[in-house]
Assembly symmetry: C2
Homo-oligomer: 254 residues x 2
C-alpha cells in the first residue's frame, strides 16, 4: 500500500509496486494491466495519480499505453547477438523461436557515395538492393536494407526472393561462408515509415546498425543498414575466447 509519510511521491510508490509485480510475474509480458480506474481504487488514490505512475513506467519502457485499448506490460526483449557470425534465421532458430522475413524491395540500383565507400566499389557502380522486415513469432523486430555489389551478386534478387534468407542467397552466388566485419550502433527516433514497419509508435526510439560483411578473403560482400525495435530487441556483444584466440589476432592478448 502507499504511504503519505514516505519521502517518495505517491505516484512513484505506485510505479515501484507495479514494477515489482511485473518482475515477480504477477503481470507477465504482454498482459493487460488493470484499468486506471481499477488501480485508482486499489491504491485509494485519484486516477491522475495512477496516470502519473503509468506515464513513468512508459518512459522506462516497462509498459505500453494505448488510448482506448488499455495498458500492456512490455513484452520480453529478444537478445540479438552481434558477432562474427551474425545470421538472423540461425540466431532465431537457436532460440527456438519462429523467424520469418517480409520482402519490401528487391532491385538493382547505383551505389551512392556511402554504399560505394563501404563496399569498396566505385561511385555509381551497380548494386543489388534488398529491403526486408525481420519477423520473430509474427512480431517485426527489424527492418533492414542490404547492398551487394551487382557485378558479383547479380543472382541475389532471384535467390533472395525464393529463400528469403541473405545467407542462402549468398550461397547461391557462390559465397559458402562470410563473416561480420564491423557493426556501428546508434539510437535514433524512427521515421513514420520505419515505425509503421516495426509496428511501434514514433515516440519510441530504434537501434540503428550499419554493418559490413566480408567473405573469407576479406572482400566486402554486403553493406547493411538495419533498424531494430528497441522495445523488443537488445543487441548483445559477447566475447568468445575460443574464437578470438584461434581466428583473430588480438595483440593485447599475446
Amino acid at each position: 500500500m502507499v504511504s503519505h509519510t514516505n519521502t517518495d511521491p505517491i505516484w512513484r510508490q505506485i510505479a515501484s509496486t507495479l514494477e515489482d509485480e511485473m518482475d515477480n510475474g504477477v503481470y507477465r509480458p504482454g498482459d493487460q494491466l488493470p484499468t486506471e480506474s481499477t488501480l485508482a481504487q486499489r491504491f485509494q488514490v485519484n486516477r491522475h495519480t495512477v496516470r502519473r505512475a503509468m506515464s513513468s513506467l512508459q518512459e522506462l519502457g516497462r509498459v505500453q499505453i494505448e488510448q482506448g485499448r488499455g495498458t500492456f506490460v512490455q513484452s520480453e526483449l529478444i537478445d540479438y547477438p552481434i558477432g562474427e557470425r551474425t545470421r538472423f534465421t540461425q540466431i532465431i532458430n537457436e532460440k527456438k523461436r519462429l523467424p520469418a522475413k517480409t520482402l519490401l524491395r528487391a532491385e538493382q540500383v547505383r551505389a551512392d557515395p556511402t554504399v560505394s565507400r563501404n563496399l569498396g566499389i566505385r561511385k555509381g557502380a551497380p548494386v543489388v538492393l534488398l529491403e526486408a522486415i525481420s519477423v520473430v513469432d509474427s512480431q517485426p523486430i527489424s527492418v533492414a536494407t542490404h547492398y551487394h555489389p551487382a557485378k558479383r551478386f547479380e543472382g541475389m534478387i532471384a535467390a533472395f526472393k525464393t529463400s528469403l534468407s541473405v545467407t542462402e542467397a549468398l550461397k547461391a552466388c557462390g559465397v559458402d561462408d562470410y563473416k561480420r566485419f564491423s557493426t556501428k550502433i546508434t539510437a535514433t527516433m524512427p521515421t513514420r515509415q520505419i515505425a509503421t514497419h516495426l509496428q511501434q509508435p514514433t515516440t519510441r526510439p530504434v537501434l540503428q546498425t550499419e554493418s559490413i560483411d566480408v567473405d573469407m578473403d576479406g572482400r566486402a560482400i554486403e553493406y547493411g543498414v538495419s533498424y531494430f525495435a528497441s522495445d523488443r530487441t537488445q543487441l548483445v556483444v559477447e566475447s568468445d575466447p575460443l574464437e578470438n584466440h584461434s581466428v583473430i589476432k588480438r595483440p593485447e592478448d599475446q
Copy 2:
C-alpha cells in the same frame, strides 16, 4: 547560386552548396541552420525545394531535422569500440582527444536482484557503487553506474576518487588485467536526470548498455549500466581491431 540551366536539379545544387559550407566551417557541428523559409529566400526557390535538399542531407546523415526546433548540423560522432578491451580513458586517448570524468556518487550499498545476478553474488551483499560522467573534449559522452563486489573491492571508492579511472582503481585492488565479458545494448528515452547529465534534450534517445567485466580467472568484477548520448556517440563492434575502417555514412570523417 542555383542555376536553372544546370543539368542537376535545383534541390541537389542547394544540398551540395550547404554540404560545402558545412565542410568549410561556415556551419559547424551542432550549429542551427537557417530556417527553411530563410534558405528559400536566399536561394530564391520555394520552401519545398529547400525541404527536398534538407531531406537528402538528413539521409546522408549530415543534418538533424527537428520539428518545431530547427535543423542542426550533425555533430561528429565519437566511435566507441565495444570489445574485450573496453576502457574509456585509453580509448579516448588513442583518438588524441581529452578524456575526463566527473564523479557523481561513490558509496557502499546492498546488491539488488539485478546487481546480484550479474555479479554472481547473493542478494543484499555489500557492493561498491560508482557513478560518474565520462567527458570528451568537455562534452559529456556517457553517464555510468558501476557495481563491484565490496568484499573484494573495498578500496575502490578511495582509489577511484584519486584516479577517476576504473582501470586504475581496479589495479589498486590487485586486478592487473580484466576483460569485457558481455555487453547488452538497447535504446531508450532518457530520464530528465540523465538528459541533464548528458546535456541533451529529453526528446533525443540514448544508448543504454549493460556490461559485465571479468578478471583473467573469469570471475565477475564489475557490472555496469551506461547511458550514451546517441547524438555524439556511436558504438562500434569490430571483429578485427587492427584494421581501421572508415566511418560509415559520415563523410566528414574521411
